[in-house]
């Protein structure tokens, strides 16, 4: 097991190197010029050229890539072209809201979706099953921003229960923190609930046909134990897999959700940076997300051994 973990961690190095090369090259060939954006409409071409030079954007590709890679190896993600602040500081300012949103969404989705999928499979073909699957289809079909606006309109504007926007750090209290995140969590979580519920139902339907389930039922084992102890554990591998894949969806969905609820997170930082061609920020954030994704996959692989002892690395 330990050697597996070490091998996987070592394997992240070439993966990250490839991601770094890809991101840097993509931005190098992408149209747009941050110097022109900074200089503004009044600037002469000479002004733009001078800004480009001061930012080092006029230097050859290989030199820029080499310098950037060397800094990355030293843990320095560079400095934002626009804010003149270190990229690590910008990420540090934004990481708490995004992590909070993703963790809450994950908890919300798993807590709702797994029981929903299990019960839908148990009651397959009944109105309970149809209702759960109709909810799942709805969750897939309605765009995140529509759900967000609708929830804000009902629970903030009409009922005045929750704030429309913003983020309160956890350090300022659990309830203020949670209040700001309830609507974004539900908004972002619906798609995820739909995805996990459908996979859980499909997997459980297969498992519930197995002989050992029939035996357990014949022995008179309580239904909840049959479902959640005997069956769910055997259906867990695909469910865990889809939760892992879903984290990538969460990263994408967070961009929209953070915009709709004005949450100062990494999603908005990324979009702002892309629109302004703030290369160091884009590169830093993409690298960080890639690393997170690689590590999440490793975690998922390790989780398999917990839910299925037959799996060994």
């Amino acid at each position: 097991m330990l050697s597996f973990i070490v091998r996987r961690i070592v394997a992240t190095i070439p993966v990250m190197a490839l991601v770094a090369l890809f991101v840097f090259s993509l931005l190098y060939i992408a149209p747009g010029d941050p110097a022109a954006i900074i200089a503004g409409d009044q600037a002469s071409p000479a002004d733009v050229a001078r800004i480009r030079e001061s930012l080092g954007l006029d230097r050859p590709y290989l030199i820029r890539f080499g310098e950037w890679s060397w800094r990355i190896l030293q843990g320095d993600l560079g400095t934002s072209i626009f804010t003149n602040l270190p990229v690590t500081q910008l990420i540090g300012q934004r990481i708490e809201p995004t992590v909070s949103l993703m963790v809450l969404t994950l908890i919300f989705a798993v807590v709702i979706a797994v029981p929903m999928g299990v019960i839908a499979a148990w009651k397959a073909g009944t109105w309970v099953d149809k209702g759960a699957m109709a909810f799942a289809v709805l969750g897939f079909s309605v765009p995140v921003f529509v759900v967000g606006y609708l929830l804000a309109w009902i629970f903030a504007l009409k009922l005045d229960w929750l704030p429309v926007q913003g983020y309160t750090p956890l350090a300022e209290g659990f309830w203020p923190w949670l209040r700001n995140l309830i609507l974004p969590t539900v908004t972002l979580g619906l798609v995820y609930v739909a995805l996990i519920a459908r996979i859980t139902r499909a997997t459980m339907l297969e498992v519930l046909q197995q002989d050992y389930v029939r035996t357990a039922n014949a022995k008179g084992v309580a239904q909840k134990d049959v479902l959640f102890l005997h069956s769910l554990k055997n259906a867990a591998v695909p469910i865990v897999t889809i939760i892992g894949i879903g984290i990538a969806l969460l990263i994408g969905g967070a961009v929209v959700t953070e915009s709709v609820f004005a949450i100062p997170g990494l999603g908005r930082l990324t979009v702002d940076a892309i629109l302004r061609r703030d290369y160091p920020v884009i590169q830093g954030v993409v690298l960080m997300f890639s690393l997170v994704y690689v590590l999440v996959n490793l975690l998922i692989d390790l989780t398999y051994t917990l839910v299925d002892p037959r799996i060994r690395y």
Partner: protein, 509 residues
């Protein structure tokens, strides 16, 4: 209102600005949002009032020699920077030098300058090789970059590098530790600020701050900003989307009024270097067919209070606005345009029309233009892209089919178009002109005449001739004048219409 949204103190004003404050150096970054924030933190020597007159602000008085070659200025007493140090003439001199390097009017002064130097702690002298009648306008103008005054040590920063300290002598201090670019910027009242005794009038007069703290809350989504304003989570929204105005007007707790009375001039620019728009008759054909109403309805909707048809290139409602020679701008004659196009010898060359889709105004105008060009028989190559790409591509002087362009859309703040001082887009000095590079000597002659004019009549005469030449040669194509609303909660008072949001005299109950 949810308790969490009520803010730390009743004297905190929450404001949703037009854009993200991504940097905070008003000389290095010339975006309007930077200028607007900078007006809180840094003071200027003179300020423009609502009648477009330069008024003394940090300056106690000035003298100009009879030959117009030597200007002597003196600072008001008691001015302090936010770090407690006094504002001295050497701070002013260094700040002006940094500003000069980046500002078109500053560069003009620099070109005729003999010496700019402090003569004592409160006075400085500017010696010129030839008179510059628009000196006070240059120091007062609110077009970016403004001549904000910084401590000498900060103003020594290369004008092409960002400053790293945000110390000014303006009425509010920048709370740097609370700045989260893309999310929040905070300004706190500067207790030692000495306002002038006159009543505040735009950037002139006494800038009295009646609130302790202003929080700029960046909201990229207009619907969220509208909901937050209705819910009392923010107090003032600088640029509400036109589509949301009916909702805001229907809320009894919210005031809605025109934001900037100088508005914006919509525009598309044609590339004068390459076919088909290097042909005057083709440019005239396009302007002859153009119907500004189509553009304005696409940009601001059906609210007729929000737009005006233009017969000239300058901001309507301002003293120098003229429609001299501007009939072509209002012709709306497709048949005449087709005739002009036939006479031009247009051979069907594609018009590479580069349109930013991430800006509502440019997207709307681009769609109208594509139809306009097709309606007169032009071949349109519509390139849908984002503003960042337009910004880079429009600087290319290569032919349209080799990475260049034929046409792009933009808009100009009306405040920049009240006269030629900061109106880069009207200049027609060929290679040195703004993108499109029009070369019309008659326009440049009248720009020079305006700078030399010593009274309003002479200025008006010069701009009348300038407008005529600009229309005849189609320096660019204005697509109409439009305004935006601003909205604020009724417990906030003192909000005025102006070219930027003014926080002085604003209070919150």
């Amino acid at each position: 209102m949810p308790a969490v949204a009520q803010g730390a103190a009743g004297k905190t004003l929450r404001f949703v600005p037009q854009a993200n404050l991504a940097n905070f150096d008003p000389i290095w970054g010339t975006q309007y949002v930077v200028r607007n924030a900078a007006a809180l933190v840094w003071d200027t020597l003179y300020g423009i009032d609502s009648q477009f007159r330069p008024q003394r602000q940090m300056v106690e008085g000035e003298e100009v020699s009879s030959d117009g070659l030597t200007w002597t200025f003196k600072l008001r007493e008691g001015l302090k920077f936010h770090d407690g140090s006094p504002v001295l003439a050497r701070d002013v001199v260094q700040s002006l030098k940094r500003w000069q390097a980046r500002d078109p009017m500053g560069l003009m002064i620099k070109a005729i300058e003999n010496e700019l130097a402090a003569t004592d702690d409160r006075s400085w002298k500017w010696q010129l090789k030839q008179p510059f009648p628009k000196m006070l306008l240059a120091l007062a103008k609110n077009n970016a970059p403004c001549s904000f005054i910084m401590p000498e040590r900060i103003a020594r920063t290369d004008p092409f590098q960002q400053i790293t300290e945000y110390v000014g002598s303006g009425p509010m201090k920048f709370a740097r530790s609370e700045w989260v670019p893309g999310a929040k910027a905070v300004f706190e009242k500067f207790a030692d600020y000495v306002p002038r005794s006159e009543k505040a009038d735009w950037l002139a007069g006494g800038k009295r701050i009646l609130i302790d703290r202003v929080e700029w809350v960046i909201m990229p989504d207009p619907a969220t900003a509208a909901a937050a304003l209705q819910n009392g989570e923010v107090d003032w929204w600088e640029t509400p989307l036109a589509d949301l105005i009916p909702v805001l007007k229907g809320n009894a707790s919210i005031n809605v009024d025109i934001g900037d009375p100088l508005g914006n001039i919509g525009a598309f620019r044609m590339n004068h270097l390459f076919p088909p728009f290097n042909n005057l008759k083709v440019r005239q054909a396009v302007m002859t067919a153009l119907n500004q109403e189509d553009y304005m309805r696409a940009v601001v909707g059906d609210d007729d209070k929000l737009w005006k048809e233009l017969g000239g290139f300058f901001t309507p409602g301002t003293p120098l606005y003229t429609e001299e020679g501007g009939a072509m701008m209002k012709a709306k004659n497709v048949a005449a345009a087709k005739k002009l196009l036939a006479e031009s010898g247009y051979k069907g060359e594609p018009v590479v029309c580069v349109v930013a889709q991430d800006m509502a105004a440019t997207k709307s105008m681009g769609d109208v233009t594509a139809e306009l060009l097709k309606s007169i028989g032009m071949n349109v190559d519509f390139v849908a892209t984002d503003w960042g790409t337009v910004g880079a591509r429009r600087a290319q002087k290569t032919p349209p089919d080799k990475g260049g362009w034929s046409m792009f859309h933009t808009w100009h703040a009306g405040a920049d178009c009240i006269n030629p001082a900061a109106y880069t887009a009207i200049r027609a000095n060929g290679d040195k002109a703004w993108f499109g590079w029009p070369d019309v000597p008659a326009v440049e002659t009248e720009v020079a005449n305006w700078f030399d004019a010593r009274d309003l009549a002479a200025e008006k005469a010069a701009l009348g001739r300038l407008n005529k030449a600009a229309v005849e040669n189609v320096v660019y194509a204005p697509t109409g004048f439009y305004l935006n609303y601003q909205a604020w909660r009724k417990n906030v008072s003192g909000v005025v219409s102006g070219p930027l949001p003014f926080f002085w005299d604003v209070s919150k109950a």
